[in-house]
């Protein structure tokens, strides 16, 4: 290197070169893409519902039928997500921990609710659980339990479509768990139950929460499968997305967007809370 090159002052450069190149480009692209695909359409939703005016907006929001539909949508989604969390973790456990004939088939079957048009799922469930269906008839005559064409049917449909989310988020984390951690636990005198509850589960918690959140989010947005199995009676088994479609059919676009906006806000708040919970659990359990 010539002395001249050394004496040359370094160029003023606010952008430090990172080891990972392309930060500016990829972040720019990410923001532009997210805006185009998610943020702008959602903002449009907000703007068009804003044209409604506060009084009208609140009138729609507190309309008993809308409130009942929202309650059912979120309540059923929550219930389904809880059920999915319990059984999803169990399925993930079985798939990861044990080797048995047909495991791959079972593993593939978990994804079916992802792949099927949800209407197909709805028809299948309706056939089984409708009052004249195989299960539906038995359950109603023996236990007096009406599943198809009721709010319980909604929960059933949401359980079906939400299951893969929990399994697929928990499975890889469970696979990553070190055998040695469990072996240490055993040498220290802990039995199976203690090892599972004190050593394995806490490590899975963030993944379980993610699965729960995804399953819940899916449940809130689900439409296709639900309308087949629920008989969609106002105040009983009518979900909010269906109500939006009904408003649209009535050319009541303002009403539809109002309900949509309310759903958006509630969903956002809930997912935000779940995210906080996740961050907290990560910190608490010493991840990162």
């Amino acid at each position: 290197m010539t002395p001249k090159a050394i004496s040359k002052p370094p160029r003023a450069n606010w952008r430090r070169r990172s080891v990972l190149p392309g930060f500016g480009l990829s972040l720019g692209y990410t923001i532009a893409y997210l805006s185009l695909v998610v943020l702008i359409p959602l903002a449009g939703l907000g703007i068009s519902s804003a044209s409604l005016g506060w009084n009208e907006f609140w009138a729609i929001a507190f309309d008993p039928r809308v409130a009942a539909a929202l309650q059912l949508s979120f309540g059923a989604a929550l219930l389904a997500a809880i059920v999915n969390t319990v059984f999803g973790v169990l399925i993930a456990w079985v798939l990861v921990r044990y080797r048995f004939p047909g495991r791959r088939w079972l593993d593939a079957a978990v994804d079916l609710p992802f792949a099927l048009p949800t209407a197909v799922a709805g028809i299948a469930l309706a056939t089984l659980y409708a009052p004249n269906g195989v299960f539906g008839a038995t359950l109603e005559s023996v236990f007096g339990l009406k599943i198809g064409f009721s709010a319980i049917g909604v929960v059933f449909a949401l359980i079906f479509v939400g299951l893969p989310f929990v399994v697929r988020t928990v499975q890889p984390v469970l696979e990553e768990i070190d055998r040695e951690t469990e072996e240490v636990s055993a040498t220290l005198g802990a039995g199976r139950w203690r090892t599972v509850t004190r050593v394995i589960m806490p490590g899975l918690l963030p993944a379980i929460l993610t699965g729960f959140a995804l399953s819940f989010a899916r449940g809130v947005g689900e439409y296709g499968s639900v309308i087949f199995i629920a008989n969609n009676l106002p105040f009983q088994s009518e979900i909010a997305p269906l109500l939006i479609v009904i408003k649209l059919d009535e050319h009541n676009y303002a009403g539809a967007t109002a309900i949509a906006t309310i759903m958006l806000v509630i969903a956002f708040v809930m997912l935000f809370v779940i995210n906080l919970l996740q961050a907290w659990s990560r910190k608490w359990f010493g991840h990162d």
Partner: protein
């Protein structure tokens, strides 16, 4: 607690990880299982812990068959190379885990705390009890893992490459420190390592393993000075190997370029093993093995010289004083002052130690001209 392994075999998919291994570790002994990867040392350690079930053979703790008790009740403290700490637990909860998991006579929480503090003091981590494992350095994590294993007052302490994941300096410190802890607590301890220096420095006894079998089990001095097999010789320390032919009590190479008296070894092919200190440069013009220098490198106060000799250009490594200038392609003469010759015997290896004191015992052939290439 004495640990006795009797005729233990273990196969993985047709491969023998352990082939009829027997080993007795006395109470309070500190034993190193040394060997290359795949030699079965870890399998042996895990079998003693009960993490593996042997295909045949029995592990006794004192006179009790250890397989009669569940792994939870064996009372082994196991330390893994990658610590296997519970990531979601603070240091103190990690250490207290074994005490809290006890079914019978579980100590009161106050006593658990006391014990944890005592152990933290022992492993010199006082004040870090509230940290999570991710907030500790590798050496600190391994010390937590050891404290956790010691908390259950194990009858045997087993460590699987305990310092393998640490950098050289921390490793040295921890080594000395583990020795101190062992001397203070007196647990029967076995540790696995592939680092011969670690094994020789730390252990009372070194068990050298290869291909699922024990090659030699002896004190560090014996392992270094009288290696039982060629494998042990070459695995421990630096060594050069030269194939020779034994006949009439002499080992020769290439028409007597090397010609040594080897005593009682049976006739046939044999191997001459030399450590760098077994070879000395001839500076007084006396007889010696001629050779050509191919490389030199500086090791501490000495210069390690690699020299080729014989028609097949066998390499000999030896140390020369650093102040003597030795350059590549230089012709030198060396004399052998020690080393061992291993011949293929009926059972294992016959070995003959070469005299180290008097070089006059070796009769060197005249080797003029052979080095012309």
């Amino acid at each position: 607690m004495q640990v006795r392994v009797t005729n233990v075999s273990k196969n993985y998919a047709g491969m023998a990880a352990l082939a009829d291994v027997s080993l007795t570790v006395g109470s309070g002994e500190l034993v190193a299982l040394l060997g290359p990867s795949g030699s079965g040392k870890t399998t042996l350690l895990r079998t003693i812990a009960g993490l593996e079930t042997p295909d045949s053979g029995v592990v006794y703790f004192n006179d009790r068959d250890a397989s009669e008790s569940r792994i939870q009740d064996r009372g082994v403290g196991f330390v893994f190379q990658h610590y296997a700490l519970f990531k979601h637990m603070r240091v103190m909860d990690n250490i207290a885990f074994g005490l809290r998991a006890r079914k019978k006579n579980r100590p009161k929480e106050a006593d658990v705390k006391l014990k944890v503090m005592e152990l933290l003091d022992l492993v010199q981590l006082s004040g870090l009890e509230k940290r999570f494992p991710s907030q500790l350095s590798g050496g600190q994590r391994q010390r937590v893992a050891l404290a956790r294993a010691l908390a259950i007052e194990p009858s045997v302490l087993l460590l699987d490459e305990p310092f393998g994941a640490l950098d050289a300096r921390v490793r040295k410190d921890l080594r000395r420190w583990l020795r101190e802890i062992h001397d203070r607590t007196g647990h029967t301890t076995l540790f696995v390592t592939h680092d011969q220096e670690e094994a020789l420095e730390l252990a009372d006894r070194v068990v050298v393993m290869n291909k699922g079998q024990i090659e030699q089990s002896a004190t560090p001095d014996e392992i270094y000075d009288t290696p039982a097999t060629p494998f042990v010789f070459s695995f421990i320390g630096e060594s050069s190997v030269i194939p020779v032919v034994v006949g009439n009590g002499r080992a020769t190479l290439d028409e007597r370029v090397i010609d040594l008296e080897v005593g009682v070894l049976a006739d046939g092919p044999a191997k001459l093993f030399l450590r760098p200190e077994d070879v000395a440069m001839v500076t007084d013009g006396g007889p010696g093995i001629p050779g050509l220098v191919v490389s030199t490198r500086r090791i501490g106060g000495m210069r390690r010289v690699t020299m080729e000799c014989g028609l097949a250009r066998h390499r000999i490594e030896f140390d020369a004083p650093a102040e003597i200038d030795i350059h590549n392609s230089q012709r030198l003469q060396v004399r052998i002052t020690g080393g061992r010759v291993y011949g293929d015997g009926e059972e294992g290896y016959a070995t003959e130690k070469l005299a180290s004191s008097d070089t006059a015992d070796f009769k060197w052939a005249r080797a003029e001209g052979w080095i012309d290439r």
